[in-house]
Assembly symmetry: C2
Homo-oligomer: 348 residues x 2
């Protein structure tokens, strides 16, 4: 069953109005605000029909209608007008993200902050993920006897370091030789293929130092965990505090549930990953209300997109806001930010 034209317009108008005011929309105010060439009674009939079909909900009998999840979904899929970023907005974003960032971490942090500022909602930016990364460099720097800094550089430009302990008596030279050997053996290898065994093989094939196996293995183990840890997703989230200003979160309990979930970076990152896989071919992923399978986010909508490093699928950025979100605006903002990230990460 497909909606006739007027019903589509009615649904669209109701979503638009509700997004703007956060108040249930009645037939009268709908007439006032839009140029329907029919009477309020006609709209009432349409609205009743839309409700029967599940696109609208009524908080109580004598109130107006608000969009249901299904209503928002229809709106997002086929009703909303995709609007372009205004020049000023584009300019503002460019001012914050235009300059060249030397590290992916600071780029993503800035992206999250910009996105939060511009949308007024919660933003997040995640480092590139495992699947698309391979090891490019591995360095081990002796900081003091027994303490070594392992620096791991991944293809996507991610740099991670980790301090590890090794036996006191190993020298900088020995350590350097080991790390060179491992680097030679593994550089270019996708992270997913790196295991304790491949690390060991790489080291033993290439190294010239004589070290007892047990000692060598100890060092290799540390190198291995450092590499593995480097593919941990980092999540940069910003703008949380803004949600408290929204009327839908004036009830502290809701805000509490939301913040509770958001305080677990890992949960959110995992969810984004899942969603990205489901909608693989799409340019952006949208999840609305109950569609979100993360506890505490059922009053929210979640929009994510994927940025690329040198043209390859890499990490995600996204926005979490109320269901009553300015979808098309947020989408264009997110797209613009993604574009700037892509640019920065390809011209390197």
């Amino acid at each position: 069953m497909t909606l006739d034209n007027r019903k589509k317009n009615v649904l669209q108008a109701i979503v638009d109005d509700y997004v703007a005011t956060c108040e249930p929309v009645g037939s009268k105010s709908l007439i006032d605000r839009h140029d329907f060439m029919v009477s309020s009674a006609t709209l009432r009939n349409d609205m009743a029909e839309l409700e029967r079909l599940g696109y609208l909900e009524q908080p109580h009998t004598s109130a107006g209608r608000i969009p249901s999840d299904k209503g928002y979904r229809e709106y997002v899929n086929s009703l909303m007008k995709v609007d372009c970023l205004s020049d000023e907005e584009g300019q503002e974003i460019k001012e914050k993200l235009g300059r060249s960032f030397d590290e992916i971490a600071s780029l993503l942090k800035a992206a999250a902050s910009t996105l939060a500022d511009q949308t007024g909602y919660i933003s997040l930016a995640m480092t590139p993920k495992l699947a698309s990364s391979y090891l490019t460099q591995l360095k081990m720097l002796m900081i003091e006897p027994g303490k070594v800094l392992v620096v791991v550089v991944l293809s996507a430009g991610v740099v991670k370091n980790r301090m590890v302990r090794i036996p006191d008596f190993l020298t900088q030279e020995q350590i350097a030789q080991i790390s060179n050997a491992v680097e030679q053996g593994l550089s270019g290898m996708p992270l997913s293929e790196i295991s304790l065994i491949t690390v060991a093989t790489a080291a033993k094939d290439n190294q010239k130092v004589e070290l007892p196996d047990s000692l060598l293995n100890q060092v290799l183990y540390e190198a291995y965990t450092a590499i593995k840890q480097a593919d941990n997703l980092d999540v940069y989230m910003d703008g949380k505090h803004r949600m408290l200003a929204l009327p839908e979160f004036s009830d502290t309990r809701r805000a509490q549930e939301l913040f509770n979930t958001l305080s677990h970076d890992g949960l959110v990152a995992g969810y984004v990953d899942e969603v990205t896989k489901e909608d693989e071919k799409k340019q952006y992923m949208i999840r609305i209300g109950q569609e979100i399978t993360l506890e505490g986010l059922n009053d929210c909508s979640f929009i994510t997109t994927t940025y690329t490093v040198n043209g390859k699928v890499a990490g995600n950025i996204g926005v979490i806001g109320p269901k009553r979100m300015e979808y098309s605006k947020v989408i264009s903002q997110i797209n613009f930010v993604r574009m700037l990230i892509d640019q920065q990460l390809s011209d390197s």
Copy 2:
């Protein structure tokens, strides 16, 4: 004017009750809950007197009393019973912080998380600050032509890295020579004394490579900014979302103000620094309500203490909670965590 003994007991009892219930305390319930050997009428007189002296406040005529900032202050300074951590609590904390951490960042992150879990309030942990740090190492690793990772190691065990761009044609050897020269010249020097000039002097005194001055200066400038940036305080904050569960923040506006301020790490860090200087000699710093000169935190209390690295004053950890805080419990928790941090940072 000093309070007589019974008045002290009354004040103490009122604070204790109010902390427990968050409800104004009346003379009747005070009698019920404590063994004062006098009648409620007597207590009423005492309470009226305490109010006249500014230790108590009355939300309205027919309500009980709640402690004023001055009342809390008196309580903290001389009334509360300092209680020890229960064995289980100590055990729980040890479980989370007992294992050895290789990096100061992960230690502090874990400390913040533990403190938030244990207290139920907001915790924070800050990296060691400038004054107590000197440079121990400086390494520059060529990641790819034109891109160099500068690794800065400070005395307190802080490791920071920063990616910088340099002219494409410089080789790893040239870069290594420069960084070795700078490291030799500066290692052991307090951060506060390092300037662009000292960096340049160090490089020119020690290096043997021939490079045009303009090129060399470009590299040195990047090294210098990397060093300077390394003394930026990192702030780890945890447990924010818990505040929403407290009755004093069921009004979203207050929570919003609080979160707004807390979203600026720098502000908080700056304030902690200020407070630490004021109370230099004290083991811990306490600020209550209006005593806190940070907008949005006037309904809170703030307890901080200083951990040491090898016996020297270093960074801060702290807890932000409602004024109605379990002061003595929080103090002992904070102290315990500080002790564990001190241990970890001295036996290295």
